[in-house]
């Protein structure tokens, strides 16, 4: 078990204590049950998501990732990241592993910051639901005032935090270390 899992377990413990003080043991078990029901509910999707992330890491051409999403793309990287983020379907159990895979394949962290901003701000799959419940006017206003955000955020990161981006790459490598000992595209070169 890695450090992140242990940290998470500690926070879970404190939340369980909070639940206990608010509603005794029934609330403690209810929280765990609710979480497990959510986990079991998305389990099939999780397996699919990992399969896709794994396939992407095997199939993807590192050259094209670094050309379009990496340092080579320059200022265009955050722009491409934004466009892809706005179009990629799927929930957080899908796009976070995908982002890790893309970063390990050569995408720059700033571009991924643009990607996740666009994905969570106005993904095309989500906009219809937003329009139905919130209305076209508010959805359009929200889109207009945030339209520059993803490119801006990614450019900020690429310009001012290039060193932090390297450390993040090391973090991901550590998280994946035990997971993929061999057969990764990037272990070849």
């Amino acid at each position: 078990m890695n450090k992140t899992a242990i940290g998470m377990a500690i926070i879970a413990f404190f939340m369980a204590v909070t639940a206990y003080t608010q509603g005794g043991f029934p609330l403690v078990t209810e929280g765990v049950e609710l979480g497990m029901r959510t986990l079991i509910g998305i389990f099939p999707f999780l397996i699919l998501a990992f399969a896709v992330a794994g396939l992407v890491s095997v199939l993807i051409k590192k050259d094209s990732v670094s050309k379009w999403l990496g340092a080579e793309a320059g200022w265009k990287g955050p722009f491409y990241g934004t466009v892809i983020g706005a179009m990629v379907p799927g929930g957080p159990f899908f796009f976070y592993p995908l982002m890790a895979t893309l970063i390990m394949s050569g995408a720059s962290v700033g571009t991924m910051i643009s990607f996740v901003a666009a994905k969570t701000l106005w993904n095309v799959a989500r906009l219809p639901i937003e329009i139905v419940f919130v209305g076209l006017e508010l959805t359009a206003i929200r889109f207009l005032v945030t339209v520059a955000f993803p490119v801006l955020a990614g450019t900020l990161v690429n310009t001012f935090f290039p060193k932090l981006a390297e450390r993040i790459k090391e973090d991901i490598q550590l998280l994946q270390q035990k997971k993929q000992p061999t057969n990764r595209g990037d272990s070849v070169d």
Binding site: M1, N2, T4, A5, G7, M8, I11, A12, M15, A16, T18, A19, L27, E30, G31, V32, E33, L34, G35, M36, T38, L39, I47, F50, A53, G54, G91, P92, Y96, P97, M99, A100, V109, I113, V116, A117, T120, L121, R126, I129, V132, F133, V134, L138, I141, R142, L144, V145, T146, F149, A153, L156, V157, L164, I168, D171, I172, L175, Q176, K179
Partner: protein, 126 residues
């Protein structure tokens, strides 16, 4: 890859369960009464970031509970925060991208929802 992340996901979802349980929607709504005014631009995003669930859960809830009592700016800030800085994403971010990514992402994103709300109020009226 999958089996190694499994213990992490196990605890992560226990956290998600408690978040859902310990944050009753009525309390969230009471933080954002009609009198919130400009503070809505800060309280709104805070609430948006805490509300859990995908678009099919969030938008109906937003429409039913919050839409009637908030300004355009607060609505924009809330929805933007629900997407960009949702705490429900933390387990995934920790599992796949690590602590430094989390600091970077939230450090940069944290003001965006409020700025978006402010822009909406200025350009389109409250």
């Amino acid at each position: 890859m999958f089996l190694n992340v499994l213990p992490l996901l196990f605890f992560a979802f226990i956290l998600v369960g408690y978040l859902n349980l310990l944050l009753p929607k009525e309390i969230l709504q009471s933080w954002l009464g009609e009198e919130a005014g400009w503070k809505g631009l800060f309280i709104g995003p805070a609430i948006g970031a805490l509300v859990q669930g995908g678009p099919f859960a969030f938008f109906p809830l937003f429409d039913a509970v919050f839409r009637g009592s908030v300004t355009t700016g607060t609505a924009v800030a809330m929805i933007t925060a629900w997407g960009m800085i949702n705490v429900g994403h933390l387990p995934y971010e920790a599992a796949f991208l690590g602590p430094r990514f989390i600091m970077l992402k939230y450090g940069i994103y944290i003001l965006f929802p409020t700025v978006a709300g402010l822009l909406a109020n200025i350009i389109f009226g409250p």
